[in-house]
Every structure is written in C-alpha cells, then in structure tokens.
Symmetry: C2
Subunit: 681 residues, 2 copies
C-alpha cells in the first residue's frame, strides 16, 4: 500500500490531472477529458454563452445574467457592500431586505462596476519578445510593464472595451482580456442579512448549510435596462445527486504552482502576520459595533470581509502546518525539479533567496503600501489623489499600473463615488490601525514617528480627520482636476499626510516590486520546465479572471458521519430550534412566520466537487444544458487548503439550490414579477 | 507657565505625595497626611478592624466580611468562576442568578480559598543579611530563596497561619504576612450576569456605569458559619459627593517604580505580545461560544478574564505610547538618577542591559513556562503533578517557590478540586494555543516539533486528550501519592507530554529567573537611592497584598461634558432603552419587569479618586466611621494608566453604591433575610 500511495501522490501533482481539478481558462477548456469522463460535448456555442453571461463583480466576486433584460444574480455577501451603501440610519436594507416592486423602484448603486468578458487574445510572444535575455531585473520589469501597457492601451483605443493583460502560469503565458463594462447597476432584490448568512461566522466555511446567499441587480445602458441576449435560463428543478455541474466564475488566487520555499514563507511569515492583522481589525470593529445601533450599521460592512478572510486564512494556515500536506508538496517539487541545474540557473534557489529578503520587507510592504497601518477610505482617497498628480503627467508605460490610462476610468468611478463617509467611523479606524502599526514596529520606528510628529495617536488622528474635506466629492474632483499644483497648494491634512507617507511607502514598494520580478522570472523558468512535461494539461493558478470548473454533486463523510449532497428547508428550521434561535441562528421574522408556506423537503443548499476558491462567490452553477441550477457561495473547511492542493476527498463548494430560490421568492417575498422574469414568462 | 509645569511634573514623581496617590501597607499608613488634609484620625482600632474584615480572594480579587456570621461580599466577576463551576447544563446560575433561601441552601464551592490578614512582621534585615555582597546573581538568588523559605516555614510551624514573604519597594523591604485561611466557602447570593455586567465589554472600564457587580459568600468552619467579629457595618445611606472614602483591598500589580528602559520594554515587547495573545484567545473562545448553548456556557468562564485583560492592557499600552506620559517618566528618572555613578555601578544601566536579553527570552518564557502555548487546565494539572514528583523530595529552600511546604496546602486544594472538566473544551483550547505558538515561532521551531512529533496539531491534540485520565480526581491523587515512581510508570499522555515539555520550559525559566535576580538587585540599589530622598513617604508598588487607599467621591469632565459622581437606576433604564435593549444592554427579566419597584433616583454606581488597580475588584469602600458604603468593581479608562502613573484629573475607580445593593436585594430579589443580616437586625 505504501508504495502505491507515494506513486499516487507524485502523479497527483506532477503527472496527469487529478479527478476534477482545474479552474480552466475559457480558451483552453478540457474538452477531451469531459467527453471521456462524462460523455459531455462542450460546443463552441455553449462556451460562448457561458463567457458572455458570466459577470465579474469588481468588488471581488462573480455573478451572471439570468434574463435577457439585464437581470443579474450574485451572492448577498458580494452585493452586501452596496446594499449597505444604499441603506441609511432609518432604512436598513441590509437588515430588513429589499424588493423593487417595479422597474422604477430599482435603486442605483453609487459605485458598482461589472465586467463581462467578450474576447481573449494570446499575446505571449509580444510580451516575451520585449524582454531581452541580458536585461537586469529592474530593466526587464520596466520593459515588460511598457509592452503590456502598450498592448492594453492600443486594444482600448481600437475596441473601446476594458482591456487587461492577464499573466498565466506565472509568466509562461500572457493573454489579453477584453470586457464590456457596466457602471449603471441597480439593486432589484435582497433578502434579509440574517437568512443570507444564517449561522454567521460559526457556520461560515462549514457544511451542512442553510443560506439564501443571493441578491439581484440589473444593468442599465442609457438609463434603460440593458439587453443581455446571453443569459442563463433558470432551472426550476435544480441538480440531482451525482449530476455533472459546471461553475463559471472568477476565482481570485490560488498558489498551487508555488515552490516549497514560498509556501514556507507563507506559513511562517505572511499567514501569521495577516492573521494577526485580521484578528486585530475584527476585534476593533466588533468592539465598535457594540457601542450602539448606528455604530453597528457602520461597522458591519467591514466586518464580514474581515471575519471571512480570517476564517479562510486560518484554514490555509492550518493546511500548511499539516506535515502530510507539506510532504506532498515536497514530493511534487522533487519530482519536477531537474537534478542537473547549476546553482545560478536554479529558479527554485532564486525564489528561496527572494523569500529571505522578503522576511521583513513583505510585512513592511503590507503595513505601509497595502496600507494596513492606516485603514481608512479617506486616506486611500488622499493617496490616490496625491499619486495621480505625479503619475498622470508620466508616459503611460512608466506609471504605476493602477494609474495607466486603461485603468483610469474604473478608478475615477470609485474615487468620485457619492457613497457617504462617516468621519467618526474613519477616525476610529485610523487610530486603531496606527496602534496596530505601533505594535508591529515599536513606538520608536521612524515611519511611525514621522507619521505622528511626536503626538499621541488619538490627538494626531483627531487633527487628521478635522483637517480634511475629502469626504466631499466636489473637493476630490477639484484636487484631481488641479493636478500637482492643486495638491501642493492644498492644506488638507490627509493630502499632506499622504505625501509624507509616500516617501517611505513608495521606497518599500520599489524594493518589493523588484523582488517580485526576480520571482516572476524564476517562475517563468519553472513554467518552461513544467510545460515541457505537461503543456497546458493542467490549469493555471487563479487570477480573478473567468474560469470554468466542473464536478459532480456529491455528499461526503466526516468522522463516520455521512453528509448528504443537499440540505432542506426543514433541516434549517430544526437547526434554528436546536440553537434556541440564539444569534447567529436567529431567523428573520418573515422566515419564522412563513415556515408553513415552504415545502420542508425542498433542497436548500447543495455541494459539489468542482474546483473553486475565493472570488467564485456568486458563480452560477450550470447543468449540461447550460441552465442555472444554483449559485456558489462558499467552500467547506476541507476545501480551504485548495489554495495549495486540490482534493475532493471531503472538500466541497457549497451552493444555493435554484429550486429554493424560486420557492422562497414566490412564497415568502411575494416577488412574482421577479420569478416570472427568471422563468421566462 | 512652562517652567512651573515642568517643576510640578518633577515634584509629582520624585518629590512629595501627589494628591491622593498611594496604595498603603497597613503597617505604614499616612496618618499625618490624613489628619492634615482631611482632619481624619486613623486609630489603631480602626486599622485593626479594616485588616481583619478585609478578604483576599485567591482567584485574584478582594472582598470583605459584612456580618459577624461569616457573610462575605465581593464582585460578581470575582465570584463568577465559582458561580459557573456550581452551574450545570440544566441549572445556569450565572445566567439566572441564585439566592439561598436558608442556610441549608448555601452551595459549597469546589475550590475557593479566602485569606484574611492577621499580622505583618518586618523581616527585611533577616533577608538582606543572608545575601553577601560578593555573591553572583545565581548564588544571591539561591540564598535569598533559602532564607525566605525558612522564615515562612518557621512562621507556619509556629502559628499555623498561612505565611508569605512580601517583597516591597522592589527589594528594599521584606515583610512577613500571616493569614487566616478559609476553604469551606459557600455561595449565598448572586444576581444575573446580565445586571452584574450590564453594558458588557463595551462599557467595561467606562463611566457612567450601571452594574450590580456583587455576590455573597459565607465562610464556614467545622461545617458551621464561622464567627467573624471583625466586619463592616452596611451603611444604608452610602456616600455623598466630596465625601472622604477608603478602599481596602488587594491591588495586584503596579509598575510605578520601574525604570524607563523597563517601561519601553513593556511598550515595545511585552504589551504587544500579550495583546496579540489575548486577542487570539478571545477570538478562539468567542468563536467556540457561537457553536451552541453548552459551548457558550463553557467558554464564558474563560472569556471574561481574557476580554477584561485585553481591555486593561490596551489602556496601559496606549498610555505608554503617549509621548506626554513617557516624557513625565523620563523627567522623573532624570531627577532621581545621580550624575556621578560609574557605569558598572549604575543600576539603571543594569536594568536596561537585562531588557536587551529579555527581548526574545521573555516571550519564550510566556509561551513555554507561563503556558501560553498550551492553555489547558488538564495540562496545568499534569505539569504540577510531574513537577511535584521531582520537587517534593528536595529540601524546602531548593524547591521552586510554588512547591514549598508553605504553599502546598493551597496548591493541593486546587489540584484535587472536584470541579468537572470538559474534555471537548480542553481539546479545543489545546489545539488553539498550539496554533498560536506556531504563529509565534514558526512551524519548524524545535519545541513545537518535539511537542507535536511530526503530527498535525488536531491529530496530536486528539491523542493527548484521548490518552489522559487526569479529569478524574482519584487518578490525580494516585499520581500525587505515588511520586516519581508513579509518574515515571504512567502512560498518561499528558503526563508524558508535560515531562517532555519541561525539558525546554525549565531551561527557559532558569535563565529568566537569573535575569529577574539581576533586576531585583538593581531595583534594590535604586530603592536605596530613592529611600535616601523619600523614605517610605511614597507607597510601594502593588503586590496583591492588603493595601489601604483613600480619596473623595467626585465626578469629572470629559471633552466639556460633566459626569456626576453617581449614576441612578433611572439612568440605567434610559440607557437600556436608548440601546434598544440590544446585547450587552439587555436587562434580565426581573429588572425589566421590576422597574416600578425601584426608586429611580437611587444612586447606583459612584466614582472616587482613590488609588486602585486590578486586584482591587470587590474591595469594600468605607466611610470615616469604617462603615461599608460601596464595593469597588472597576476603573474608568482614564485610570488604566495608573499602572505607571497616578492621576486624578479624570481617572476614577467605580463602585456599586450600598443603597442600590440594599434596595435591589429587598425589592427585586425578595432577599429580606440577607438584608436583615446586613442591617444587623
């Protein structure tokens, strides 16, 4: 047995495809495999519709069109940011839910951008040819940035479509993605937060589950619902056990192709740091939320993503601490790594050397450049404004990527968002994150001293907030239009603060980017070695771009207990009762009162083996016919190691069943119009 | 103004007594000052009664006798540990409260020890003479340990009283404290947790407050209520504004005499570490508590002290980050430190050098020896049993202090406590704390590798818990009686684990204790310098021994808002309403329904300027006549820096008013018998 096991382990990582692994790019789908294993013919028309009916939510999730009239569905926890921005002190849509009775009642979102992929072009050769073999890392980085900026800019000019270059296989391939963009997006329907997230943090990343984690938006063009001829028909029956299903969405990041040295760096440096930071922030926000109803409302928007990340990263961390997983990763690396590499040519050694340098640098990068030390929307606005003033006069290719002309429109959309900003809340967050930075670096650290100017943190923070007008959109526009001159003349406290901050932050970023380039080149070399063995028979790591995964609807066993492929409404009511309706197991009144209006046996949530990761939230789950049978919203905890290794032994993604959606809309929300639209009536 | 200010600052710390600063030892009370400032004559009889009516709760708090029949009062949050141990799955006294209708209904605590101070003897000369000037730190430490052990042992033999040596002024004085000990302690009355801690973590360390943070116990001797002729008469009227009051209790630790180097070490190393640890633990416990009612009940006992410490240490940390406070401390040190010290004689430099060595060592000490890496009652039992087996055969003076014959009886009382232990809960805590240790030291750290034996943490933890019988008191007794032989023959998983663990832990402790001795000697030298200037005109740092503080009942102002000296019942109801009765501002049913039974204007909580710190919880507040006018339960957040500096500008301690106690017992709890006993009827 032992021998067979180790053979399996090696082939699992280095050799052919394991089970249903893979988040496939739309221009390289595993058609042969699907035909052979599932007798499924993936046609070009099927592929084309999946591409054009799938949506990227730019705030970090996925979704899809479910009617020809621009109706889109995503998870409640993806729409939640907007639902809260549309709420007020007196009208809490997040808590009580929302339904637009008519088209006129749909609520326009202040700053939501949706992207829909239209076309993929392989530009690998153009990018690779721009980097000459004798270039040093800094020059190679500049050359690559320049050619990528040029390709994207030319594409935008030519097509008018948002154009992004996507780096696949850590630099072995470069593809140009062209998106249709929607910025007039309106809220159509959202259930109560408490049913969207029944079980709360306690049940997050667990199964069995009972969540109606959905909400509906509609995209508009020229003030009218947009025509979306490519959409998914809603299946009123949903999927059955063992059925083949597909998940089409935008998985954010996986690290399956990373070297062992990088994974150890994640385990021993990055994950401990990030977990500390997230726990700190979660405690800060939870404690603030306890102060009263308005504070609770303000904090809730930030709390979910923080708690969610904390739980996801905890699962990743525990996975990397598991000696069995690291042993598998080591075996895979040994099998792939050639014996005859000279030390100076060995990309694995170059990556390991970079991790040594990143030990302290990467945390400093998070604190200063990612902004962990000053977690504030107002500060982020100030920083964009100051940086824009100096970046925009430069040629496109020399700018920081986020300020290139191709990215500018989306950035301005965010920057000038009319969503209100609470200064009291910002002050609490800035003080809290500065205290966190002090904990990390000590009170005598240079950057902290210069940021505080020998003042106590509460005093300095009060001054920063009192002295800024950046909560006023008109002032932001004035500073943006005025460029360097306006920035340098500004006595806005946060603008001045951001200018000072950048002296340190940009220096750290420069060093970090150079080490990133060293790694990018080494991964490109590893990719060549891997390509020689495997070609594109394995999927690239996730990059928050459109991917298709597949698997079957299947329960699993934990410690001898069998968990079915789906849960039911009746089981949800039983769970709430067993937990004495104690928060987070309290149901909204509508659901408590409406138990008899629902069929107890209706499947509510279900699981499948398909390969997903964070970013897939809101992804449509499709059957062979390309019909919408559910919406992915989570993984179970066994699936949290999927950042590093795919497994389908117990790992599952979790979805809301299409039948539960239709039944609850109809019987609890009196949303007959919406149901008719979904059913094509 | 500037010059006057800096003069004040210097005199404030180095010169004479500031305002009402001081936690005074009972054999050096500031009689002259009290006479001069308040025209109060502190008589020997007054002092004697305060000493013998004040109680130390060995689980970390204070209390007092309030009837001649052994009736004792303390805070609910001090009794809470016991209240929860006396609760069961079906009878949750913590949630619903408790009242013994008759003496027979009083509930015996499994492991509560109370100490009452009877006598103080100055043994400074005996201790100091045992240490010779030419001894190296290790030898000096051994000599001091030996003489202290001998004095305590002789005292116990002679008097039968618990005998502890207390180190005052960081080694300038050594006093022998003799205590009467009570181990048969029974619960008499406790209100609901929700009124004892109304406002929860959110209002903890804040003011205005509305907490009935009390509970009653009774001490027994020979199965009958003990006679306690020294007790405090309950004042039905309580204190008025500006009245002089005294606080008699057991403040735990202050650091006012520490050097700047040590405070910087606290700020940059210890407090960040401890805050991280506490936040980690709080998150772990809160998340566990969300899983269900029984989990909530189990976790609650540990949650309060963790959240409380997190909030207290946060206040300390923010205080040390305040440049104004550090500037004051620096000025005080400069004023005290002679100019003409040779570097090798300079105790400040020796302390600074020790901090350098402690940078990594002290955290390792916390993780391994304090046990942060394995936070578990079962593990602590295993460690005591293994250590006892090797320590008990040694002569008393050579043992670790906690295993000396004078400490043994109290330790065994804890060790053989019949309080039930949940293995599921222990497993969760062990796994959680091992993950924390991995975050601190990295997965490849030697001690972690040896603790885990290349297994994943969940697997190793399951084995540890499955393989131990230490939840059985009889098994603990068997191993204790069997000594080394029984320990070495034991195949109990936790006994074996504790033996392995100690190889690293005891080595760290040895190094830590040596550095502690270096510091102790340096502080003794500083104390001599300070004594030359000030004598005992300032009080020593707190040591969890009996102290008397005094001050006046006084409101204060924050950001222009005046806060009165007391709150009322009516204000509490208004606060609950304003917070929509949302947890933690939800009132128990008894209080909601009973609003009309209470007089709205009755003072509920009040504040005074007296000098208190953690450990003072449950301290009686006394008037000139020595009557009980209230019970201290908290400080406000301005008082959190009192670990380092006394201030009465806004800093206050907070107490429950005696009138509120009597009125709620009578009108809401129908506790007329208890009220009669308090009133001496």
């Amino acid at each position: 047995m032992k021998r067979i096991f180790s053979l399996i382990v090696v082939s699992f990582f280095v050799g052919s495809l394991h089970a249903d692994e893979g988040m496939w790019v739309l221009n390289n789908l595993p058609k042969d495999l699907l035909k052979k294993k599932y007798d499924f013919d993936l046609t070009d028309a099927w592929r084309e519709r999946v591409m054009k009916a799938s949506i990227r939510f730019n705030n970090g999730g996925s979704g899809s069109f479910v009617s020809p009239n621009g109706l889109a569905i995503t998870n409640h926890h993806i729409g939640s940011d907007l639902i809260q921005k549309l709420s007020t002190k007196d009208k809490d849509l997040h808590k009580h839910g929302f339904l637009a009775k008519t088209i006129e009642d749909e609520l326009k979102c202040p700053d939501l951008e949706l992207n829909v992929l239209q076309e993929i072009v392989d530009v690998t050769k153009d990018v690779q040819n721009a980097v000459k073999p004798d270039m040093k890392p800094a020059a190679a980085l500049a050359a690559r940035k320049a050619i990528m900026a040029k390709i994207a800019k030319d594409s935008l000019a030519k097509t008018g479509l948002r154009s992004d270059i996507v780096t696949l296989y850590h630099g072995a391939q470069y593809h140009l993605y062209r998106y249709k963009k929607y910025t007039d997006v309106r809220l159509v329907m959202a259930p109560e937060y408490q049913i969207a997230f029944f079980g709360g943090d306690s049940d997050n990343f667990e199964y069995p589950r009972y969540n109606l984690d959905i909400c509906f938006f509609r995209v508009y063009e020229n003030g009218r619902p947009a025509a979306t001829p490519d959409y998914f028909k809603f299946s009123p029956t949903g999927p059955k056990a063992d059925e083949l299903v597909f998940v089409s969405g935008h998985p954010g990041t996986t690290n399956r192709l990373e070297t062992l040295a990088r994974l150890e760096h994640r385990r021993d440096v990055l994950l401990p740091y990030n977990l500390q930071m997230l726990r700190y922030r979660e405690a800060l926000l939870s404690q603030y939320a306890e102060k009263g109803a308005e504070q609770r409302r303000l904090a809730q928007r930030d709390l979910f993503p923080v708690a969610n990340a904390r739980k996801a990263l905890t699962g990743q961390y525990h996975g990397l601490l598991d000696p069995a997983i690291m042993k598998q990763k080591r075996a895979a690396e040994v099998a792939l790594r050639p014996d005859n590499l000279k030390p100076e040519d060995d990309p694995w050694q170059r990556i390991a050397a970079a991790q040594e340098k990143l030990r302290t640098l990467e945390v400093a990068y998070y604190v200063l450049e990612r902004g962990d030390a000053i977690d504030s929307r107002l500060f982020r606005i100030a920083r964009h404004l100051t940086r824009l003033a100096y970046e925009l006069p430069k040629p496109d290719a020399e700018r920081l990527p986020e300020y290139r002309s191709t990215a500018l429109e989306s950035l301005k959309f965010q920057l000038f968002s009319p969503a209100p900003i609470s200064k009291e809340y910002e002050q609490m967050k800035i003080a809290g994150s500065l205290y966190f930075a002090a904990e990390k670096f000590g009170a005598d650290d240079d950057f902290l001293r210069s940021a505080l100017g020998r003042k106590a943190i509460p005093q300095r923070t009060r001054e920063l907030i009192a002295g800024t007008k950046l909560d006023d959109v008109a002032e932001r526009k004035r500073l943006f239009e005025g460029g360097q001159k306006a920035i340098e003349a500004s006595d806005d406290s946060l603008i001045q603060f951001a200018l000072d901050w950048d002296i340190n932050a940009l220096a750290i970023r420069q060093k970090f980017d150079e080490l990133d380039e060293v790694q990018a080149q080494a991964y490109a070399d590893i990719a060549k070695i891997r390509f020689k063995k495997l070609g594109t028979s394995i999927a690239p790591d996730a990059t928050f771009t459109l991917r298709l995964a597949f698997g079957t609807v299947q329960g699993y066993e934990v410690d001898g207990v069998k968990l079915g492929h789906a849960t039911t409404f009746a089981q949800m009511y039983a769970r709430a009762k067993e937990q004495e309706h104690h928060h987070p197991f309290d149901l909204p009144k509508r659901w408590l009162d409406g138990q008899k209006k629902l069929v107890g046996a209706t499947p509510f949530n279900f699981v499948s083996t398909a390969d997903t990761i964070g970013g897939n939230s809101g992804s449509p789950v499709l059957n062979r016919a390309g019909e919408f049978v559910g919406i992915n919203f989570d993984r179970n905890r066994h699936g949290l190691v999927r950042n590093f290794v795919y497994t389908d032994f117990q790992a599952r993604h979790i979805s809301v069943h299409s039948r539960a959606i239709v039944e609850s809309l109809q019987n609890l929300y009196a949303a007959q119009g919406l149901v008719n639209e979904l059913m094509g009536k």
